[in-house]
């Protein structure tokens, strides 16, 4: 991003032309194209993960299905709504920069900042719940309902109550359902069981990693939005920062779009 360090008559609305460009149009086009190609690169970054997700999901649909039931799809829905709204305010900020409304830029960027932070806040509470349920992958990960699960006794109790098979299946813990899915002809296939448990955890690995990388992009984006609010306020940009804010907008929309893919993949697919 080319942010000249001096302001030349900011009120004129004309941007500074850097020495190696011929005209403002070329400068604007280059900055935009640069961000687009950076986003292409980002798409490839996420696509490796999405490919891994697809392969593993195809291998163990049952384990992934069980794991994805732990995601709170209403919180996810709320977050999707928050993020899409933040994209709207970002688009309005870009528009304001084009028509030269500096107060509008600051207002809309500020709203974007608020929505983005709200998204991260909701995400953090989701993470907390999951970590409290021992769903964070690694040493402390416990498949719900397994013998080492401290929350498991309730499920066991209902099992001993002698309900019918149908009822037990409805209330069965993930552990039991994975066990069931690994049973061939009434005999437990230990190897398959272990793999299914692994895949159950793998869903959380991918979930934490993909949403974590997304959250990292959000944090970077929010830092830039905050910076841009200050820079617009002190009239640091030449013109109204049309190019810079548009490029930031592209990035922000991209982060939004990534979530639009992650939400159905991780929360919604049954």
């Amino acid at each position: 991003m080319h942010t000249p360090s001096t302001t030349t008559s900011p009120e004129s609305g004309r941007q500074l032309l850097l020495h190696h460009f011929d005209d403002l149009e070329q400068q604007h086009l280059s900055s935009n194209l640069g961000m687009w190609f950076f986003l292409v690169s980002e798409v490839m970054f996420f696509s490796g993960l999405i490919a891994a997700y697809t392969v593993y999901r195809a291998w163990s649909p049952e384990a992934f299905h069980l794991a994805s039931r732990h995601m709170d799809k209403w919180l996810g829905f709320f977050n999707t709504w928050v993020l899409l709204t933040s994209s709207l305010t970002m688009a309005l900020a870009v528009r304001c920069s084009q028509v030269g409304d500096r107060r509008g830029i600051v207002r809309n960027l500020f709203l974007t900042l608020v929505f983005g932070t709200a998204f991260l806040g909701v995400k953090a509470t989701e993470y907390r719940t999951e970590i409290n349920h021992n769903l964070f992958p690694g040493k402390h990960f416990i498949v719900p309902g397994s013998p080492e699960d401290p929350h498991a006794h309730a499920a066991e109790g209902s099992h001993e109550g002698g309900e019918g098979h149908e009822g037990a299946a409805a209330h069965a813990s993930d552990y039991e359902r994975l066990r069931e899915a690994s049973t061939v002809d009434g005999k437990l296939d230990e190897e398959k069981f272990s793999r299914n448990k692994g895949h159950f955890q793998l869903m959380f690995v991918l979930y934490f990693f993909m949403t974590g990388v997304h959250a990292f992009h959000m944090i970077a984006g929010l830092a830039l939005v905050a910076l841009f609010i200050v820079l617009t306020q002190i009239k640091w940009f030449s013109g109204y920062g049309q190019t810079q804010i548009e490029v930031l907008g592209l990035y922000w929309h991209f982060v939004d779009v990534v979530w639009v893919f992650l939400y159905p993949l991780l929360y919604l697919i049954e």
Binding site: H20, G34, F37, S41, V205
Partner: protein, 552 residues
């Protein structure tokens, strides 16, 4: 191609090298200076990697392990050799040095589109590089440059995480350079510089830049996953927990096979400039050569599975990858045939850069044809993980990229520094490199075919003769690499005697001063004709005239 003649000013205009404070170098945003910064850093890494290679060759002189002491040390040596040479030399070498320096000038621009990002890419590269040095000094790593799981993620006790981080960071420098090149080619071309008037150097770099932007992030994600696996033991690559080690190979080679083209396409770029100039003929089949670069970039993304023929990949996938790998040979062959056709009826001069370019053509052809052998399923099973593979990729990487890099440095050295080097020493070292290279790596084809596996520090006594030949060749090669450093640096002591166009070449870079001024051009550039307007007849007439004068 025509550019406005250098404008006449009072007094000599300041060239890009005139400021010489350390600060002016470290904070420069001039693409030419950043190219020089890269030149110094990648060459340093090249010699670090070269010294390690020398130690390995010394070890392999005898069948018993005696020089390095333990197999473990040897493992660390070949890993560090691979990591340094690939990530810190081959990938950035030609694009970041010659590409940075020349690409804007060749399309008539004053700089790359994002000069600050360009400087940032160098700093990012240096951070990665310094981490590489840190790893080297703290025990190195022993996984091989491919970081294969589950060894890298579960068993290796070496600096895998640091190395993964170093590769991750260096990858960003590659992405930033690629981004800069793509945007520059799209938006910064001078008036009249249409896509089909661009030198092939620019086309090849454009294709390279696309691979950098598309491939590198996938490498980044795969090394991050290795890091995660080591920290948390989450099982992405651990079969016990339902993961799949082969997934790593898929992700890794999805980048690392196209990365081969990141390394060799810029070599094509250089050779496509040198051959027409010293054959005095327009390049044969300009559009074919240009599109071949793009085709290689595209096909390059579809062939990664040929690294996994024996990794348990399905037979059908193997067959498909085999066929696709054969397809890459088509655009590569188009290039080699077009260069050959350019030579035909040319008025060929054997200056130093031309010797390197001709060497490139021969060696790349051998590397490419053995690549076809390896792309066939049956042969690959036989020679997989033997020295045949090692010889094959060194023919591409050293015989291709390093030869082209040296050829390019010799071709544009007068432009970069304003000085000519000793032609005699240049030719001599080109010859040494060629002979030394073949003596080093041709025996390895035979060794591999006879069954000597790669990555072992001991071997059966019957392989010794060929191994000694290889080590002897490595010594010659090393001399051939050191000599140019000496005479090129010595040339800097002399006066700026090169003149703007010592090779009588076409191309915008030859129509400005050597070394160029900070803004490259004095007046707006207008391009009115195709590249490579050479005439062999004219060259012959000039030659006859010169001979006549000489006799008279």
């Amino acid at each position: 191609m025509s550019a406005s003649a250098p404008a006449r000013h009072d007094g000599p205009p300041a060239d890009y090298l005139s400021e010489s404070t350390v600060k002016s170098w470290l904070l420069t945003v001039d693409h030419k200076r950043i190219g020089i910064l890269y030149l110094i850093s990648v060459t340093t890494f090249f010699f670090v990697g070269g010294v390690i290679a020398g130690l390995m060759r010394l070890e392999l002189m005898t069948p018993r392990g005696d020089v390095l002491g333990s197999a473990d040390t040897y493992n660390r040596m070949f890993t560090m050799h691979g990591v340094i040479m690939i990530f810190f030399f081959l990938v950035p070498a030609i694009p970041a040095v010659l590409g940075n320096f020349l690409l804007p000038i060749m399309i008539g621009a004053r700089d790359l589109a994002f000069p600050k990002i360009n400087l940032m890419s160098w700093y990012v590269y240096m951070i990665g590089g310094l981490m590489g040095v840190y790893i080297l000094l703290h025990g190195g790593i022993d996984t091989g440059w491919t970081f294969y799981t589950p060894f890298s993620s579960m068993y290796s006790n070496t600096q895998v995480v640091t190395a993964a981080l170093a590769v991750f960071i260096t990858g960003f420098s590659s992405i930033l350079t690629g981004l800069n090149f793509v945007v520059t080619v799209h938006t910064m071309r001078a008036p009249g510089m249409t896509w089909f008037r661009m030198p092939l150097f620019v086309w090849s770099h454009y294709a390279t830049a696309l691979i950098m932007v598309l491939g590198t992030p996938v490498l980044a994600i795969s090394v991050v996953l290795v890091g995660l696996e080591r920290f948390f033991g989450v099982g992405v690559f651990d079969p016990k927990l339902g993961g799949d080690p082969i997934l790593f190979q898929h992700l890794f080679w999805f980048y690392s096979h196209p990365a081969v083209y990141i390394m060799v396409l810029p070599g094509f770029a250089v050779v496509s400039e040198i051959i027409p100039c010293f054959a005095r003929r327009p390049i044969f089949g300009y559009r074919f050569v240009a599109f071949a670069s793009v085709a290689i970039a595209i096909f390059g993304f579809l062939v990664w599975g040929h690294h996994m023929f024996v990794s348990g990949q399905s037979m059908y996938a193997g067959a498909v990858f085999s066929i696709l790998s054969f397809l890459v040979a088509i655009p590569s062959a188009i290039k080699v045939f077009n260069w050959t056709a350019t030579l035909y009826k040319g008025s060929i001069k054997f200056d130093t850069p031309m010797l390197y370019a001709l060497g490139f053509m021969g060696l790349f052809t051998i590397g490419g044809l053995t690549g076809l052998m390896l792309a066939s399923l049956a042969i690959d099973v036989h020679v997989h993980d033997t020295y045949f593979i090692v010889a094959h990729f060194h023919y591409i990487m050293v015989g291709g990229t390093v030869m082209a890099y040296l050829g390019g440095i010799h071709f544009w050295w007068p432009k970069m520094t304003g000085r000519m080097y000793s032609d005699l020493w240049g030719k001599l070292s080109a010859l040494l490199v060629f002979v030394g290279f073949n003596l080093t790596f041709f025996p390895q084809f035979l060794l591999g075919y006879l069954g000597m596996p790669r990555r072992y520090f001991e071997y059966r006594p019957e392989f010794q003769v060929l191994n000694v030949m290889s080590t002897a060749g490595a010594t010659v090669l090393a001399v051939g690499m050191v000599v140019p450093v000496i005479y090129l640096l010595l040339s800097l002591r002399g006066p700026k005697n090169a003149g703007p166009n010592p090779w009588n070449a076409t191309g915008l870079e030859w129509q400005i001063e050597s070394p160029p001024t900070t803004h490259n051009f004095h007046e707006p550039v207008l391009v009115t004709c195709e590249p490579y307007l050479y005439s062999p007849e004219e060259a012959e007439r000039e030659y006859a005239h010169a001979q006549h004068d000489h006799v008279a």
